[in-house]
């Protein structure tokens, strides 16, 4: 159907736009402002892996049995990370507020938010450095503050700042970290070689870490986090300060690890990196303002999928209201408007057909993919509007602080 149309420039501001495009003659328009701040953002949107893990459907004919249902028990066992209504209070202020999230095995959860949002505090809680004031944190089925050695051996961690030995070579640093995890010589030797190749540092394995470039140092830290083949990999801003090409390479590696069954928890302040994750927790002021897969976040921000339509002649977009799947129309020019639909894939041909049936040619029609910067801005604005109804705001910065009480003192 689209083969006879010339492609035109995408209307999205997202550099990573992957929307489908259909170019058609034009039709008249209607003017209506988009409405993006209506429903509260669900903490557990349906359809996401995390949501699925949290609410497993039980067949109607299933007989009730004592204890948790088998499906639920299996799902719970499959959860690598679980935070339930977690609040952390420090110095008379809440730095994390009512955090609830779950990370199933074999997924990438991105914790995204501005600096000071509470990302590192969340990470520190998951690694056992601090205990929650309220709520429950479980990592691989155990509170992090009660980790045993075997639990620690299953976790890989890459801290935010460079934390390796500058006077040791790249290879020696990885070997050292592998030794910390108790890897014996033969396996260690093999894995050091493997991860050096994975992060593309094999050629500089003999160079002292202090003489590596910033990007190489980040890759070296990544290699150290991966060397013992952990089940859960926690990466605190792995792409911070790294050029876009290298960021792409790092995400490629993270996807490969995910595909190999590893579970990854990644914080980043690059909102655009949300697209790389299976699940995204947007965190602002210590609160999760949205938790969903990237596509779902787009839908949350716009209350559906967004179609960007340009007609060859005047067309009143409001006439599309009532068309199956159409939720809203926002006209921003005589021949240009956005249509919010339930599902872009299904609704795009229907909308185009509706315009054509009115005798107007469609010049172009495509799914508009908002950039994650835009989505983030929308969701933050919505969260701000809803906050008075939901409770007080946290006191300022949620605190990516290193001066919080220890797990033992907090406990």
């Amino acid at each position: 159907m689209a083969a006879d149309l010339d492609p035109i420039e995408p209307t999205t501001t997202d550099a990573a736009d992957r929307g489908s495009a259909i170019d058609r003659p034009a039709k008249p328009e209607i003017s209506r402002e988009p409405d993006i701040s209506r429903e509260p953002v669900a903490a557990w949107p349906s359809g996401s892996p995390a949501a699925a893990a949290n609410s497993i459907p039980v067949p109607p004919d299933a007989a009730p049995a004592p204890g948790p249902p088998p499906d639920r028990a299996r799902a719970a066992a499959d959860l690598i990370v679980s935070m339930q209504a977690v609040t952390h209070r420090f110095d008379d202020r809440d730095v994390l507020i009512d955090i609830t999230l779950a990370v199933p095995r074999g997924t990438i959860l991105g914790v995204i938010g501005p600096s000071g949002a509470g990302k590192t505090t969340t990470i520190r809680m998951l690694t056992g450095a601090i205990a929650p004031t309220r709520g429950e944190v479980l990592v691989m089925g155990r509170p992090p503050t009660k980790f045993r050695r075997v639990d620690r051996e299953r976790i890989g961690y890459m801290p935010q700042s460079f934390a390796l030995y500058e006077d040791l070579t790249a290879g020696e640093n990885i070997d050292f970290v592998a030794s910390l995890f108790g890897m014996l010589w033969r396996r260690r030797r093999r894995r050091v070689r493997e991860v050096l190749h994975i992060v593309d540092l094999w050629d500089v394995r003999g160079r002292q870490a202090g003489r590596l470039s910033g990007g190489m140092q980040r890759r070296l830290e990544l290699a150290c986090a991966l060397v013992h083949e952990p089940e859960l990999i926690i990466l605190d801003e792995p792409t911070a300060g790294i050029d876009p090409l290298l960021r792409g390479a790092i995400w490629e590696e993270l996807h490969r690890l995910r595909d190999a069954g590893r579970t990854l928890l990644v914080t980043t302040q690059y909102i655009g990196e949300a697209d790389e994750c299976d699940e995204v927790a947007m965190i602002v002021g210590g609160r999760i303002i949205a938790l969903a897969p990237p596509d779902e976040l787009r839908r949350l921000a716009t209350d559906g999928d967004l179609l960007d339509i340009e007609t060859a002649s005047l067309y009143d977009g409001s006439t599309l209201m009532g068309t199956p799947g159409v939720r809203r129309v926002s006209q921003d020019g005589p021949r240009h408007f956005q249509v919010t639909v339930d599902d872009a894939g299904g609704s795009l041909p229907v909308v185009v057909e509706a315009i054509r049936s009115a005798g107007v040619e469609v010049a172009s029609a495509r799914e508009q993919r908002l950039s994650f910067d835009e989505i983030f801005a929308i969701l933050v604005a919505r969260s701000e509007e809803e906050r008075p109804a939901n409770g007080p705001a946290p006191d300022g910065d949620a605190g990516e602080t290193r001066d919080e009480p220890s797990a033992e003192t907090a406990a």
Partner: protein, 398 residues
């Protein structure tokens, strides 16, 4: 399996620390060659004796006393260096006030007349010293001078008395039977040292220098190593990894213990071969003292690291320990010169017992201060356990 893993972790720390030391050639040179350089300069430059105090002797005008400095130098001994003999008291005092000389001795007038009149004559000794130790030394020398002059006067008087006796019919044999100098000083001291060895001044300080260097090296190296890891975020990595604080501490103790042990072996070999320092004890005893000294010093270093927030603070605390060690440990001033409870506090420094024990074992072949061996062992255990508890807390909050 878990034992192998534990060993792997500890050996990883040991290997990493040793590689880090070797990768710092500047530190290596200053740490290993530094002690020998200090010893060499000390041996070449230190005579072991006090400089004689520059002295001017003021004679009364027309006293008829000899005016050559040598005569008075023979009386004064090595402690005073007679640089001038004069009758101008004002000029001598001017020299003293300008600190050109240290002592002015004003000889008394009419000694003979005073003696005959049954009166004492005053020898006026004036000094211009602010150093209390030097002042005490000057007073001590003045008393020695007084005794020497009195002896000479008595000798002169005895000789005069002999002449008078012979003139008045006394038998020459009987009169000369007791020499005048024996009458003037009927006793004299002969000293016998029963110590197993008599080291030279330089050799005597060798164990003290060795103990001080080992303590400073152990304290500084391990403290800086731990504080760097605390500040660089490596404690966070340790906390998340399966390594325990005990394994971390063990690895560091082993690494720096091995390194300090190697430095000790090298230094002792150089001291014995290069400086001829006596080594009377079995090597095992020396090794035990060195082991306990290094262990307690490493424990002290770990404790400093546990309470320090930064590298500058660590360096500052290490230097304070060094300063306290130089002043209080018997290196400069004898511990016995301090009163309680300061003396007890001094023994919290490993080097205090270390100097005593190394000196005893090297120069005497054994020690009567066996309790100090236990004290060093106790310090090692106390410091290490204390540091381990504090560091464990630190690691939990990393």
């Amino acid at each position: 399996m878990s034992l192998f893993k534990m060993l792997t972790r500890i050996l990883a720390i040991v290997g990493k620390e040793l590689v880090s030391i070797v990768r710092r050639p500047g530190a290596l040179i200053s740490l290993i060659l530094g002690p020998f350089l200090i010893m060499a300069i000390f041996g070449a430059g230190y005579g072991g004796y006090r400089r004689g105090l520059d002295t001017v002797v003021v004679l009364p005008p027309n006293s008829g006393l000899p005016t050559d400095a040598k005569t008075y130098q023979d009386v004064a001994g090595a402690g005073l260096t007679i640089s001038q003999v004069t009758t101008d008291e004002a000029a001598a005092m001017d020299l003293l006030n300008r600190q050109a000389v240290d002592v002015v001795v004003v000889a008394p007038t009419d000694v003979q007349a005073n003696l005959q009149a049954g009166k004492r004559s005053a020898i006026d000794v004036r000094v211009n010293l602010t150093d209390p130790v030097e002042s005490t030394y000057a007073y001590f020398l003045a008393h020695g001078l007084e005794a020497a002059i009195n002896r000479q006067i008595i000798e002169g008087a005895v000789d005069q008395a002999k002449g008078y006796a012979i003139d008045h019919g006394a038998s020459g044999t009987n009169v000369y039977r007791i020499p005048a100098n024996v009458i003037a000083a009927p006793t004299e001291v002969t000293i016998g040292n029963v110590a197993q060895s008599q080291p030279s001044v330089v050799q005597y300080f060798a164990p003290a220098v060795l103990a001080l260097i080992l303590q400073h090296l152990a304290v500084t190296l391990i403290a800086l190593s731990v504080v760097r890891e605390k500040n660089n975020g490596l404690f966070e990595l340790f906390r998340i990894s399966p390594i325990t604080t005990a394994e971390l501490v063990t690895g560091k103790l082993l690494a720096y213990g091995l390194f300090a042990g190697a430095v000790a072996l090298l230094t002792i070999t150089m001291l014995v071969i290069g400086f001829g320092v006596p080594m009377l004890a079995q090597p095992g005893w020396i090794a035990l003292v060195v082991f306990l000294l290094i262990a307690s010093s490493l424990g002290l270093g770990l404790l400093i690291a546990a309470v320090s927030d930064s590298e500058p603070q660590t360096v500052q605390l290490s230097l304070l320990v060094l300063l306290a060690s130089v002043f209080f440990s018997g290196f400069v001033l004898a511990i016995s010169e301090f009163s309680e409870p300061v003396r007890s506090m001094i023994y919290s420094l490993p080097v205090a017992s270390g100097i005593r024990l190394l000196s005893d074992f090297m120069f005497r072949g054994g020690t009567v201060a066996v309790g100090q061996l236990w004290l060093l062992g106790g310090l090692a255990v106390g410091y290490i356990v204390g540091a381990w508890l504090l560091l464990r807390r630190e690691m939990a909050r990393a």
